[in-house]
C-alpha cells in the first residue's frame, strides 16, 4: 500500500529545500529517500535501539551490516515491538523500503518478523 499524498508532500518539501537530491540519501525522517517498491531483508540482529527519534535495528545479512529503521518509539511499541520482543542474535525478516542510494545498506521497515511474530510498525503502509 502506497500513499502517494505522503510521498508527494515530502517530494515537494525536498524540492523546496532544493538540496536533498544533491546530498546523499541516508535519511531517518520521511520516505523521500526510499525506493517505491517493497524490499525484503533477512539476517541476524546485532543491535536494537528503541528510542527517539526513531527505533532501529542493526542487522547482519551474510556478513554485511544493515541499518533497519523502524517507527518512532511510541509507534514501534504500539505495534507490540518492545524490549522483550527480540534479543541480539535473533533472526529477523524486515519488509519495507530501501534507500535509493544502492551503495547504502539502509532501509525503513514497515513490518518486521521476529520469533514467529509479525510487527507492523507502519500499519497503513504494510503489505496486505
Amino acid at each position: 500500500m502506497h500513499h502517494p499524498l505522503d510521498r508527494r508532500r515530502f517530494g515537494l518539501l525536498a524540492a523546496a529545500l532544493g538540496l536533498s537530491y544533491a546530498m546523499p540519501a541516508r535519511a531517518h525522517h520521511g520516505w523521500s529517500w526510499t525506493e517505491d517498491g517493497f524490499f525484503e531483508l533477512e539476517g541476524i540482529i546485532r543491535a536494537i535501539y528503541l528510542g527517539n527519534p526513531h527505533a532501529a535495528l542493526d542487522v547482519d545479512v551474510e556478513g554485511e551490516m544493515w541499518r533497519v529503521e523502524l517507527a518512532p518509539p511510541s509507534r514501534t511499541l504500539a505495534a507490540g515491538f518492545d524490549e522483550n520482543a527480540a534479543r541480539v542474535g535473533d533472526e529477523v525478516k524486515a519488509i519495507g523500503n530501501r534507500s535509493r542510494d544502492e551503495t547504502e545498506r539502509r532501509m525503513k521497515a514497515v513490518r518486521i518478523i521476529v520469533r514467529g511474530r509479525t510487527y507492523d510498525v507502519y500499519p497503513r503502509r504494510a503489505p496486505a
Partner: protein, 157 residues
C-alpha cells in the same frame, strides 16, 4: 567515544530516549528558540546593513540582542538534551558536525559584531556604521541561515 556512550547512559538521556511527550516538546523548544534567534539577529543585521527602511532608527537593537542571547542559550540547552539521546550517532553525522562548526563561527561573529557596533546605535545614521560591522552583519545573516539549514538536514543524512 566512551564519553559519548556515557552521555547516552545518563539518567536524563535514558528517560528522554523513550519519552512520548518530553522529547517532542524539547524538539519544539529547540525550533521555537531558533526561530526567535534567527528573527532577532536578522533584524539587527538588516538594520546595520541599512535595509530596514523606516524601521531603522527606532529598532531596539540592545533589546533584540538580549532576545537573541536568551534564544541561543535555550536552543543550545534543548539541542544538548536531544544530542544526549544518541550522542555517538550525532557526533558522526556530517550535517551535525558542519552545523556545530557554523554555530561556533556565528557565535564569535555575534560577539565581534556587538563590540564593533557598540551597544546603542539605534539612533545613529548609517554613515557612521563602520564597514567591518556591516561585514559582520552580512556574515551573521548567512551564518545563521546555514546553521538552520544544516540543522534541518541532520535528520536526513
Amino acid at each position: 567515544m566512551e564519553l559519548l556512550a556515557a552521555i547516552e547512559q545518563a539518567p536524563f538521556a535514558r528517560a528522554l530516549k523513550t519519552s512520548f511527550y518530553i522529547y517532542p516538546l524539547i524538539n519544539l523548544a529547540h525550533v521555537l528558540a531558533i526561530g526567535a534567534l534567527v528573527t532577532s539577529v536578522t533584524l539587527i543585521d538588516l538594520r546595520y546593513l541599512g535595509l530596514l527602511g523606516k524601521l531603522k532608527p527606532g529598532l531596539p537593537v540592545a533589546f533584540l540582542r538580549r532576545i537573541a542571547f536568551v534564544a541561543f542559550l535555550t536552543a543550545g540547552a534543548a539541542g544538548a538534551a536531544m544530542f544526549s539521546v544518541q550522542a555517538r550517532d550525532y557526533a558522526q553525522n556530517p550535517a551535525f558536525i558542519i552545523k556545530m562548526g557554523l554555530v561556533a563561527i556565528a557565535a564569535v561573529n555575534f560577539v565581534v559584531f556587538t563590540r564593533l557596533a557598540g551597544t546603542d546605535n539605534a539612533t545613529s545614521e548609517m554613515e557612521s556604521v563602520p564597514v567591518p560591522a556591516r561585514i559582520c552583519a552580512g556574515l551573521s545573516i548567512l551564518l545563521w541561515f546555514c546553521v538552520a539549514l544544516f540543522g534541518r538536514f541532520i535528520g536526513y543524512v
